[in-house]
Subunit: 203 residues, 4 copies
């Protein structure tokens, strides 16, 4: 199968998973309660924005690496499907965090679910890339070795960063959630500011 | 990344966000109540139509300007993701307006949410375009300067128009909502009637 | 805008609207009630199948006529958006029929909603095609006049057939619903059996 | 119609149906109950993963056979729509199994619904392929006869395997569900491990 069909399928999953995030934003309040309820629901807006932008950056990075890939094989397709399965799962823990972050009894479980999902996503992102790039198995014949190792270097920390933040949630939920926000902000900055100096950048 | 991949991703977001609007249309009525409930739900049909057509026009305009763009960079991708995040948010305030417009206690909060979302969308639309076009940063080498400045001129009023209607909501909800409808109707007319004289038209 | 971008957007709307139909299929039954409830829900399976196949046929016909079209203009885009708005609306009356067809008090209202939606869809299908084809406004230079008039002839009855079935619902709901099923069956047969003799066929 | 448009439509259906699976994963638990509820919901994660990966493999196989096909006709389009209708149905029985597998009174009905859906999907997959390949009706002129008969041989057992597992559900639900898991695991292994020896592989 050509890479373009896989990219089209991945584009679809990314676009749908990102758009489904809006189904998590809502309130059942009516009448005079609607205004205050809309303000009180701010965590769901923050969660929507963080997950949407995070998915957007992963999507952009996915294209960066697919650009280096010449062809696919069955194992690569299967690993890509598992990676996309993780992407499509993100709306669920996003909703958990949005709905429960203000409740001390439930915030930890929700934040753990978010952290585990993002850690798994980052792991699969690396697995897919390493399967394709180790020994240049599926790479373009003219893929620049420096670019390839630059991509590998920039992706490898992802799982560890998310794992660390997830472990922090076990100790202190608030600090862990702030770390999740900081990771997103870092990737946004890296993508836009730093990324301009190192083209094949990030995550 | 080529512009075609970004366009495919944007097409996906637009198509999904527009189609998800139908999930806002509904009634729990059963039995003899169903007929009257379906008539009583007219605001949800109007809201569906207005938001669907508004998204369709923004989609068409997005392609008009993407047609002038030669390549992308990381910042442009990130700004586009934030713009698409605003597009994918529209179903939520659309539902709020549809469900609450007939309730004097809740209509203002719902209309404000709609106005703020559309104002932010129009702002991001301009930010994305200005980032690409100022200094011809990402434009096609042969993009006609007159066409480019025509696009800029036709987009710039958008945020102010939506901001004005949003402020009117604070004073009088009904007038503000009528303004939202009038803005949509204006863009429809501009797109189809006026737009035929000035090809790179609108919003 | 090239026709290929409009086709991609339309493909997205058709695919999403058809897939969202599954959200209408469901039951809240648990325990021992699940089995009987799944059997009792047969109208929702029929409604799912009829609407999915109907959308699939409209999608195929939409491509048949887009194949004759050389370029687009703003009015054509806007009319296409309104047509796609009707397509994306179909899951709502489909759910109404599935949920209420077994309730004598609610079946008529649900069937009317379905009939009105399908009639409007068929009208918009014709409006879009006639806008493009009258005076050969947007057609390929080499579009065969006989093929073009064949398409026009095969589409024109659609709105009248659905309008007739909708009016029958006012008199007798059961007969009207059987007519809706018969129309779908006819289009399926025409598409697959008759359609093979007249390539640019149907609806 | 070219096969590329049908592939784009099918890609959309596959991507959306797979992504909608996440809407089945959820819990209404709040407060202290959230953590235990998230652990207790493990069947919904397993069901999500199994159905997502199953759809991913069917998608990959669908492309394998579309690659052998030169053109389409109306009957082939219609059969493909019915096949896609089965694909888009999968989220519903997946949810039934996830929600009811731990309830002895409801597990059988849910597992039967899953088995019937997958059996029907496998039947339609074969019908679409056989329609295209028997007598080389729609195949590429240069499609290798050995590859074509290899595809046919690898697809034919699918319906019988799912039918057998569905019949086992009638006798023993637990064994039947384990068989469903084993079938998925087999296809995953066949796709990635065995499939590498026989390129045009599977299902």
């Amino acid at each position: 199968m050509s890479t373009s069909r896989l990219e089209a399928f991945a584009d679809g999953i990314f676009a749908i998973a990102a758009t489904l995030l809006i189904l998590n934003v809502g309130t059942d309040a009516t009448g005079r309660d609607l205004g205050p309820a809309l303000l009180h629901a701010w965590p769901s807006y923050v969660a929507y924005a963080v997950s949407f932008v995070t998915m957007g950056i992963i999507w952009a990075n996915h294209h960066t690496f697919m650009h280096q890939i010449e062809h696919t094989d069955r194992t690569f397709l299967l690993l890509s499907v598992v990676f996309l399965m993780a992407i499509a799962f993100i709306p669920f823990p996003t909703r958990l965090v949005a709905e429960n972050i203000q409740d001390p009894d439930a915030a930890r479980a929700a934040a753990l679910a978010y952290g585990i999902t993002l850690t798994f996503t980052a792991v699969m992102f690396n697995v897919v890339w390493l399967y394709a790039s180790v020994g240049r198995r599926l790479l373009n014949a003219d893929a620049d070795p420096k670019t390839v190792s630059g991509i590998t270097r920039s992706y490898l920390p992802g799982p560890w960063i998310y794992l660390a933040a997830t472990l922090v949630v076990l100790v202190n939920v608030a600090v862990g959630v702030v770390l999740f926000l900081a990771i997103s902000a870092f990737y946004v900055l890296e993508s836009s500011v730093f990324g301009r100096r190192e083209p094949p950048s990030s995550r």
